[in-house]
């Protein structure tokens, strides 16, 4: 792996008329990385990808591919390929000819072309379908053809625009692992655009979370999940309980509840974020924990989910209890029962409150 990033964005901005699609953005995607851009629809992620591909040009800023500035370079001269959401296969060409399209453009000698096309089709396990037309294939197969077509020219970077969106749930899960496997085998940098946090978490080496034209956080899936930088990231990735609190002297107080387990290092208004699976559900007579009342609970196979109201006017706290652990307490539980909830301060993130307001709005817009 070279130290030059495969793709680097510096101050890249995109405006369409008066509206700003992408605020000035810096981004580095390392060589050979599986990098996801995650965000709700309309957050600018597709625009960023289309600028990298060369279908849109940035209003300001520079984009470099492998250290070379490519702003103004047409798409066909950029060493990258794209996997379109609609697959964009050529309907008049067979699977084989679709995959061979780029090699024919490059006038690759016939024998080499044949071998490379065969290798690409083997990679996606579609060798036996080489003579079929795209219309004769299932959605999942078309997707594989599109992938073979995108990697056959051995590009530096492959851009994937929500490629699994049109597939059914089951196929999507299979394809997630398959994409990851192929990316590793090929050693090609993948930039994957999606609004599906689960997809991004499953496949990515790193994720950039975007909202309203801005990259809010870049990090590994565990960083993004365990150490969200702000309220939007915390609530967009997985489920997260967000408690408005005021911090002083190293403790956080929630109105009507009192001191909650957290270790704030600032004073003032904060948000305490804690994941449902980090919260323990305790009997009402336990010695520690915050007293609350169960308003709803449900058995979801591998875990129980309970919604617990604590304090006066706060939204119920979601608590996720593994089935093996929660069985004793929850099996006989009635809604309305008194319980206690507790978590360790290390599992609570203290987030700044200002970003919280605008991010919460963003989320409403996205929803």
């Amino acid at each position: 792996m070279s130290t030059v990033p495969a793709v680097a964005l510096r101050g890249v901005t995109k405006r369409f008329g008066a509206s700003v699609a992408v605020e000035p953005t810096d981004l580095d995607v390392a060589d050979g990385e599986f990098f996801s851009i995650l965000g709700p629809s309309g957050c600018g992620k597709t625009t960023i990808m289309r600028m990298i591909a060369g279908f849109e040009s940035p209003t300001a800023g520079t984009i470099s591919l492998d250290g070379r500035d490519v702003v103004g370079v047409p798409t066909r001269k950029r060493d990258l390929n794209m996997l379109f959401q609609s697959y964009a296969l050529f309907p008049h060409l067979s699977v084989e000819d679709n995959v061979a399209f780029e090699l024919r453009t490059l006038r690759v000698p016939r024998a080499e072309l044949r071998d490379r096309v065969a290798a690409a089709l083997d990679l996606v396990q579609l060798g036996e379908f080489r003579g079929r037309k795209p219309q004769e294939l299932s959605g999942g197969q078309r997707q594989r053809v599109a992938l073979a077509r995108a990697v056959v020219g051995r590009p530096k970077v492959v851009l994937l625009d929500e490629p699994l969106g049109a597939l059914d749930q089951r196929l999507r899960k299979d394809m997630q692992f398959e994409l990851k496997r192929m990316q590793r085998e090929l050693g090609i940098t993948f930039i994957y655009v999606t609004h599906d946090q689960e997809e991004a978490l499953t496949m990515s080496d790193r994720i950039a979370v975007m909202s309203r034209g801005r990259v809010l956080q870049v990090g590994s899936p565990t960083e993004i999940y365990d150490e969200p930088a702000n309220r939007f990231v915390a609530s967009f990735i997985g489920t997260c309980n967000l408690l408005d609190a005021s911090a002083a002297d190293g403790v956080a107080r929630v109105e009507g509840v009192g001191v909650v387990p957290a270790s704030p290092d600032t004073d003032g208004a904060v948000v305490v974020a804690v994941r449902p699976e980090r919260i323990r559900l305790l009997p009402a007579d336990a010695a520690q924990g915050i007293p609350g009342r169960v308003v709803e609970h449900a058995f979801l196979g591998d875990h129980w989910l309970a919604k617990v109201v604590v304090g006066a006017a706060v939204a119920p706290v979601q608590v996720q209890v593994p089935a093996s652990v929660g069985a004793d307490l929850l099996r006989g539980l009635e809604d309305g029962a008194e319980v206690r909830i507790d978590w360790s301060p290390a599992d609570a993130r203290v987030l700044p409150a200002e970003v919280a307001a605008s991010a919460a709005q963003t989320q409403e817009v996205a929803a």
């Binding site: 591909a53 279908f55 047409p74 798409t75 066909r76 001269k77 990258l80 390929n81 794209m82 379109f84 959401q85 609609s86 964009a88 296969l89 050529f90 309907p91 008049h92 060409l93 399209f101 780029e102 453009t105 490059l106 077509r149 020219g153």
Partner: protein, 260 residues
């Protein structure tokens, strides 16, 4: 209720096809009058192929249909491509302008053409016929092609660019092949429009460039001859052959006006 609808459908189909079947049957009728059946004969076909003036009008109509159909398809393709691909100002007005010959009565177009040609001093002949037929075929060709282009996935062109093809390469290797069935459809429609047209031809044909429909229409005055039944039968067969060659599935798409 179902029976009534079924019966109505049968009546409709009979109404559509009985005249055509009758023409074919009478083309083999030995009697020159249609109310009597005197047995089978091929005389009318023989007579048809010896009727040099009639064959001359057939040649004129075929040539006219091919030339006007081809030009209308080319112009229609270019207009549709421009209207579809480029952000043109006043697109709605242009589309309406393309559609206008479809809604203006042909007789008006015919008169207007005649006036225009005589004003600029053009003699009626093959050229005026071709120009007139392009006017009426163009809207159909344009709309068939525009429909096909609109039903195309726009990212196909981006994919071609992404895979290294330039503007020309994309056009030759992607746009044109994908639109081939629609181009064929546009041409066939234009050809048929031209071949069967009588009103525009009446105003734009000159001496020696009488078209087949004009010839047939004027022979009504002297009475329809059985050889016209033979000619009609041949055309029906020819049409069927075209449909079979093009393919029934393709034909359905053509008539539905969409891309493959």
């Amino acid at each position: 209720m179902r029976k009534v609808i079924g019966a109505a459908a049968i009546v409709m189909i009979a109404f559509l096809y009985v005249p055509i079947v009758a023409v074919i049957a009478y083309s083999f009728n030995a009697s020159p009058v249609s109310y009597r059946w005197d047995g089978l004969t091929l005389d009318w076909y023989a007579e048809l192929f010896q009727d040099e003036p009639l064959l001359a009008t057939l040649r004129t109509s075929l040539l006219l249909g091919l030339v006007a159909g081809f030009i209308a398809t080319v112009i229609g393709f270019l207009s549709a491509y421009a209207l579809h691909r480029f952000p043109i100002r006043g697109k709605g007005v242009l589309l309406a302008a393309v559609a206008i010959p479809l809604v203006i009565p042909e007789i008006v177009i015919g008169v207007a053409l005649l006036r225009t040609f005589s004003t600029v001093g053009m003699q009626n002949g093959l050229l005026t016929l071709v120009l007139g037929h392009i006017v009426i075929a163009l809207p159909m060709a344009t709309f068939v092609l525009l429909g096909a282009m609109r039903s195309l996935d726009p990212s196909v062109h981006e994919a071609a660019a992404d895979l290294g093809a330039g503007v020309l390469g994309t056009f030759w290797r992607v746009t044109l092949p994908i639109l081939r069935p629609a181009l064929l459809a546009a041409f066939l429609l234009s050809f048929t429009t031209s071949f069967s047209n009588i009103v525009i031809s009446t105003f734009t044909a000159g001496v020696g460039t009488t078209t087949l429909p004009i010839r047939i229409y004027s022979s009504v005055r002297t009475g329809l001859t059985p050889e016209l039944n033979a000619l009609g039968s041949l055309m029906v067969v020819l049409t069927l052959v075209v449909i079979l060659v093009v393919g029934v599935g393709q034909m359905r798409r053509i008539l539905a006006g969409s891309a493959p």
